[in-house]
Assembly symmetry: C2
Homo-oligomer: 208 residues x 2
């Protein structure tokens, strides 16, 4: 990878999808795939695929296609999945629980270390292999467990305050499900999942 | 709105966020806002805002700014939020439950009519105001209740089959949370929320 080059957000946004398809191919024991086969599978043009991959040196497609396992590993590296990430979830409601159970994160290096809530009825309950902790332990926990990603899965009202707190603890990445945008310093990255926005987009498209 | 004009996906993608901010402003009883004030609030350039709004005729900003309530209503209309949408959720696990409880959908015209699962231990249980129904009732329910949006909140393995079934019942919109892309006819719109993709993007950004 050319370290000096800026990769566009659009390309980055497509990498996880490539990674997902390549993981499926690898699981199906497929060893090689051409850009045109991958194109057919993913409904993206082959030239788009080649262009995207050229941002990272092209991954050595020869006449006989890409090596699936190699490509999967390389894209994983680019996505930073080789380094383990330690996460906590703020909010042990249905959404927080769903996020823990949603997918096989651990194999991709995402380790959920803790889950926090302010509701006394929920604190102390088991969620998967974790026990819900009270919010006043959040900051110490983040520091002592070297947490690098915080998932905000609480309503809008408390989210801004939580974000301010965790940023002060040195957290540099927030996965935000609260229905609000967070104002954070420019060295903190936020990935927003605004579910209602997504549903509204569907409503728009449905009219057409 | 100029009916003949094609609005870019990027503009459409930004509409729900405008709608969200305008809703907050309206709730705060703010009557007018200029594009530069909105720009400061939303961290988008004022010229971007004006350009976006010009796709829909500009919403009549005068020297004294936009009328918040009018703009909110108009963007809501464009998003199709004036027509009620009837939804069912397939999957009554944590994610399905979270989606029902997540936000105040009803006020935006999204009405959850039913929730379905295949797990005999879950069928018959209450989720909010709904009772979990067995999967074999899904198709009849979709037709009899004129469901127009189906939410897929089950693992990848069953999602493709469910999508095929509901498309045959005439459903034209799918909100897909399964960790797979769905192959549907071109007149069916799918809004994917691939949570792991979103987490991987965060992992990528965290490295920079």
């Amino acid at each position: 990878m050319d370290e000096g080059k800026t990769i566009s957000q659009a390309v980055i946004g497509r990498l996880p999808r490539y990674y997902r398809y390549l993981g499926d191919l690898r699981d199906a024991n497929i060893e090689r795939i051409s850009s045109s086969e991958l194109s057919g599978l993913m409904k993206v043009t082959a030239s788009q695929i080649r262009q995207d991959f050229n941002n990272f040196g092209g991954f050595g497609q020869q006449g006989y296609g890409y090596n699936v396992k190699y490509l999967y590993t390389e894209i994983g590296k680019i996505l930073g999945l080789n380094d383990a990430h330690r996460l906590v979830i703020v909010g042990a409601g249905n959404l927080g629980r769903a996020l823990i159970g949603y997918s096989n994160y651990e194999s991709r290096g995402f380790i959920f270390e803790g889950i926090f809530d302010q509701d006394p009825d929920i604190i102390g309950k088991e969620v998967g292999e974790l026990t819900v902790r009270p919010m006043n332990e959040l900051e110490d926990f983040i520091i002592s467990h070297k947490i690098d990603i915080v998932v905000i899965a609480i309503p809008k009202a408390g989210a801004v305050e939580v974000a301010e707190k965790i940023v002060k603890c040195g957290v540099k990445a927030i996965w935000n499900f609260a229905h609000t945008d967070l104002n954070v310093p420019s060295d903190v990255v936020v990935e927003n999942v605004h579910l209602s926005d997504s549903l509204m987009k569907l409503s728009y498209m449905l009219q057409k």
